[in-house]
Symmetry: C2
Subunit: 302 residues, 2 copies
């Protein structure tokens, strides 16, 4: 596609000569990392033999064994070496944490503030991955490196609107809570949307962060917003499901991500084209059995 040019530049060099003389070390460079947001959905304990187990959104975090933020919890990830593509680096991290292939993954955002990492300048490219927890061999706590699943909740504590001459400003305080049997981590993020004239700007800022390393609380908050958005118009939810599932389970997954209850009738209509009936049913559930469905791989968004 790009055949070496034989044109000479202002220094009289051809492309080949230029590339040979190019010194890659003259400018100081930032470090680049990938940060993985590996989500799954798990069943909670059921209180009553009849009740369905509640589902919860889970995120995988790693306990930092070294400085900085030693002892705190961070997103899995690592530095991107010069010979490896960003996506390969992300896939490698994902594989090393989950030990499974063919996992859904998408780029979330690249975080490039100065001072994000006290060691050196680090730019982090974050990726969301969605895993069916029944496919996970490694369960929470099995990992030697102290990887653990945390129950994630996203709560709007406060919403404040201020009108301006030529627009308005809305500020939300969002509390992120990460919980498991042993620990509870919390963070508060301030999200500010400023509309002045025709220009809209959104900023996110960490107000408090307890037990969560770096600026990872902000990344987690943003990831949840992305999931909430995308689950409405894509099929990403199916990446969190086992091969066979009931429509109620699917609905629970939607509810746990959206953070609100849905009406069964409307939900079933909405996802009808995305699923295929099987002739299998659940049993021993303490109530009416439920038909099992599969994802319909022929489905396409209209």
């Amino acid at each position: 596609m790009n055949e070496p040019s034989i044109i000479r530049d202002k220094n009289g060099l051809t492309e080949q000569e230029y590339l040979q003389s190019y010194d890659v070390t003259i400018y100081e460079r930032p470090s680049v990392t990938v940060d993985m947001l590996i989500f799954t959905v798990m069943n909670q304990e059921q209180e009553n033999y009849r009740k369905l187990p509640e589902k919860s959104l889970q995120l995988l975090l790693i306990k930092r064994g070294e400085h900085p933020y030693m002892g705190q919890w961070a997103l899995p990830g690592g530095f991107v070496p010069v010979h490896e593509s960003l996506e390969d680096a992300a896939r490698r991290e994902l594989k090393s944490e989950t030990n499974i292939d063919h996992i859904y993954m998408e780029q979330l955002f690249t975080w490039g503030d100065v001072g994000r990492d006290p060691r050196t300048r680090v730019i982090s490219c974050s990726y969301i991955a969605l895993v069916d927890h029944t496919a996970l061999q490694v369960q929470a706590g099995d990992d030697a490196a102290d990887a653990r699943w945390f129950d994630v909740t996203h709560q709007v504590l406060e919403e404040k609107r201020t009108n301006r001459d030529e627009g308005y400003e809305i500020e939300w305080l969002v509390k992120i809570t990460l919980r498991n049997e042993l620990e509870e981590l919390t963070a508060t993020i301030k999200i500010k949307e400023t509309v002045s004239g025709r220009l809209t700007e959104v900023t996110r800022e960490i107000v408090a962060s307890e037990g969560i390393a770096f600026d990872h609380a902000k990344i987690i908050e943003y990831a949840i917003e992305r999931l909430r958005n995308k689950i409405e118009y894509t099929d990403i939810a199916f990446n969190l499901m086992p091969p066979l599932f009931t429509l109620s389970e699917l609905q629970q997954v939607y509810e746990v991500i959206l953070g609100k209850e849905l009406l069964a009738a409307a939900f079933r209509r909405k996802i009808a084209d995305m699923v295929m009936e099987t002739n299998q049913f659940t049993k021993d559930a303490g109530h009416r059995p439920s038909k099992l469905y599969r994802f319909n791989p022929m489905w396409r968004r209209k």
Copy 2:
């Protein structure tokens, strides 16, 4: 937020001691750049005194004066220095190209393939910016550095669907054409969507690129897709409009981005809440005058 920890790590160092001994030079690092997709909408010549001028989507490109890809056209951008945030670097580039402040800008995607740049490993974070062309002092070709606006078109040449055992694959060939009075650049991008089982993957690959440097054709194609998506559910289009505009002009902007015609009645209903009437009208148009509108900064998406 992160008070230096006095806990000692496995080497017996406190956080402060660790940071002092941290050697930032031990790993080779990729370079990071920002690439700016600066879009605007301009009027084309009108053929007939009665007809409204047609609008076209324009993209700002820079002619490369040095290797590699010398003589070809590239997205404006540059290396990110270690002391500057990604967003600041993008804003700085944007300001240096357009000479205006308060421009709409959003992160598009970070491109991290190995071999994107023949000089060295380069990771590029791309940003979309939308400019009202009436606010631009610097018009096409005024710039000493050979910056020029190109008319952008996005054409689907071919769509091919192949069904598989557990899913399907769709391949599109998209032709991107960048045109101005002097030059015409073209590129063909192959977009492949693979659905196998529950997993969906989309890849983009440059099949041909004439006159467009690096992998920038792919970035341009992706940016247009993003614009098409976002114009449907956000107010980004207003960043391309002058302060006062007619609803027909606004509709033209939507049409030029979406690449299809819209029905006036439905369009007006859809954007009704986003605009405010003024009591001004166009005149000398050779036909019925049109009411001028402003963006309604109090509008919020439902």
